[in-house]
């Protein structure tokens, strides 16, 4: 049993030796680390290091051991019960004695490792983007065309995508009171149009990305992109010139679109998006002239003979969900 006891003591000693080494290696990080690590070792007080780290000094070890270097600098943890400590090291080998100016070390420029190319926060390549949005018309004072929309994009590369989008307008068109006020005051009718739905095939390019710090604390990533495409938009005039006889059907028009978007990433698969998009098409408006009966009931006389190039500029605010949710970087950090 004597051997057992000795063996346990040796095992304990061997176990503790590396601990001192680890704490010692942390001491090179900075003054506070040195102070607290030494304090822990000497006193065995676990919570002493927290204060030391917070205050950036060796106070935590005060009363439990402070030694002095040959240069006169106090080195925390010098007097260790049992006669072991930095002071003894200094006595045995003065060249190995730590002789650091802690203030100078603390003020030294901290060289954080920086990578030449930082990893992009969220890779888009080979991922699908599902983007539901709510659209608001920006350039039609007479009839606003809000509505829900959906886009599905696929990223061929990290910056290039192709996709489809569409919007449903029919129940949401709003004929503004301003129209009736103008008709009443000036006896001038403005041809009005309401939309039904649209669909487009698009190509986009992410031309800019960056990050913002909110109150110098929370950092979020964003990117900006341009997008354009072709599609169809279905609409019809709202009869205001001869509402008794005219009843228009929805008709499709070939349209082109171009826009710019901003995407703010919440995490690596979810983002908030805002787009400014111009859907352009040649529109057919209601004829301001009313044909004489019985031709006034002929639908071919209801439309203006000319077509009008129309811009439907929309703000589209929505969310982006990237699928798959996770991805692997090709290279390590």
């Amino acid at each position: 049993m004597k051997k057992t006891g000795v063996g346990l003591l040796v095992a304990t000693a061997l176990w503790l030796v590396p601990i001192q080494s680890w704490a010692g290696s942390k001491a090179s990080v900075g003054a506070s680390a040195s102070a607290s690590a030494s304090a822990d070792t000497s006193s065995g007080e676990a919570d002493a290091s927290g204060d030391a780290a917070a205050t950036g000094s060796g106070d935590a070890a005060a009363g439990e051991g402070e030694g002095a270097t040959p240069g006169g600098d106090k080195v925390p943890g010098g007097d260790v019960p049992g006669g072991e400590g930095l002071e003894d090291i200094c006595k045995i080998d003065p060249t190995a004695c730590p002789n650091l100016d802690m203030d100078k070390e603390a003020a030294r420029q901290f060289k954080e490792p920086l990578y030449a190319v930082q990893q992009i926060f969220a890779l888009r390549v080979r991922r699908f983007e599902l983007n539901p949005w709510w659209g608001i018309s920006l350039n039609d004072q007479f009839v606003s065309h809000p509505g829900p929309g959906l886009a599905l994009n696929y990223y061929i590369s990290n910056v290039l995508f192709v996709g489809l989008n569409g919007e449903y307008y029919q129940p949401f068109n709003q004929d503004q009171a301003f129209n009736s006020q103008v008709r009443r005051a000036a006896r001038v009718a403005v041809p009005l149009t309401e939309y039904q739905w649209m669909a487009n095939l698009n190509v986009g390019y992410v031309f800019a990305y960056g990050k913002f710090a909110f109150l110098s604390d929370f950092i979020f990533q964003y990117d900006a992109y341009v997008v354009g495409g072709v599609g169809m938009i279905f609409n019809r005039p709202i009869p205001v010139i001869d509402p008794d006889n005219r009843n228009f059907e929805y008709k499709g028009h070939l349209s082109g679109n171009a826009g710019i978007g901003l995407r703010v990433w919440v995490n690596r698969w979810f983002a908030i998006t805002t787009e400014l998009r111009d859907y352009m098409f040649a529109d057919q408006l209601e004829n301001l002239e009313v044909a004489l009966p019985p031709e006034d009931k002929n639908p071919s006389t209801w439309y203006d003979q000319d077509s009008y190039f129309t811009h439907n500029v929309q703000a589209q605010v929505g969310a982006s969900i990237f699928i798959p949710f996770s991805f692997d970087y090709r290279l390590p950090k």
Binding site: T4, L8, A33, A53
Partner: protein, 295 residues
């Protein structure tokens, strides 16, 4: 009493237990001190350090002069371009007090105005007793453009708060510092509108008299600044200015049970609420021209 072997064994067992207990305590303390050593690494030299070192303080303690052109948006009858400037002082890197002002230098009619005037011109060729002409006599003078409400000038003392700052990479090659800020203040707007009247059809069908007034409204919006260098930046401000005014000079309301029908008068009841929107493009000059760096 003679010590027997059994007693010796008990003493040894006790010693072993004490040693084991000491070992366990030592192990527990060892684990704790190990964790503390890691904690020290995390909170050592970076404890209390700022999130960003050597941060360019584009605004703190600097004056800002921003010549700007401001465009009104979603106008019914007349678009206005205001030429002006913003002057401001940044108390901190996130708080600025300033004054923005603009003079309505350019007014352009919209397509609707042109259409109304085309019809008006045709109508005025008819006899004065013609129904169409008679029904619009109170609302349309010889030239519709002459009776349009216009924004002549705007002055707005305002506070700007910059909660977002960051950088933007363009085409993965051009990197610029960017701020996103919000502003809010009081808008003082110099307007010209059709003058109030009760007998509103001028003799000999002359033009309607106009009057100036000053409206006060809240103003607010988001804005972006893109820094070109240490002292210059491009600036975009989207300004909201909600207030009521009579943009067309029409008798729109004031009569009927709910006051929503014409009353053959021009009065403040004819002013319609507009959520006026303006877009400013500016060139920011920061003084002094040298940028300070944070620690």
């Amino acid at each position: 009493m003679r010590e027997g072997p059994g007693m010796k064994t008990k003493t040894r067992n006790l010693t072993t237990r004490l040693l084991a207990a000491a070992l366990a305590v030592a192990a527990a303390l060892t684990v704790t001190s190990h964790a503390d050593a890691q904690e020290i690494l995390l909170t050592g030299p970076l404890a209390g350090a700022p999130a960003v070192r050597k941060l360019r303080l584009h605004r703190q303690g600097r004056f800002e002069i921003t010549p700007s052109a401001t465009f009104t948006l979603l106008d019914e009858y007349q678009r206005t371009i205001l030429l002006g400037a913003k002057l401001g002082y940044n108390f901190t890197d996130w708080l600025q007090f300033g004054v923005w002002g603009g003079y309505g230098a350019i007014h352009m009619s919209t397509y609707l105005t042109d259409q109304i005037q085309d019809q008006n011109a045709l109508r005025r060729q008819r006899d004065i007793t013609d129904t169409e002409r008679r029904l619009t006599a109170l609302n349309l003078g010889p030239d519709f453009n002459d009776q349009l409400g216009s924004m002549d000038w705007i002055v707005s003392p305002q506070l700007s708060i910059t909660p977002f700052r960051g950088k933007l990479a363009l085409f993965q090659s051009i990197y610029i510092d960017t701020d996103l800020y919000i502003f809010g203040g009081v808008g003082i707007i110099g307007l010209t509108e059709r003058a109030d009247c009760t007998e509103c059809i001028p003799a000999n069908n002359g033009t309607f008299p106009m009057a100036s007034r000053t409206a006060i409204a809240p103003t607010f919006g988001p804005a972006l600044s893109f820094y070109i260098n240490n002292w210059a930046a491009l600036n975009l401000e989207w300004r909201f200015l909600p207030f009521s005014w009579n943009t067309g000079g029409f008798d729109t309301a004031g009569g009927g049970k709910d006051g929503e029908f014409p009353d053959n008068k021009i009065s403040d009841a004819d002013r319609r609420f507009h959520f006026q929107q303006l877009l400013s493009v500016g060139f920011v000059i920061n003084l002094p021209t040298k940028t300070k760096l944070s620690e």
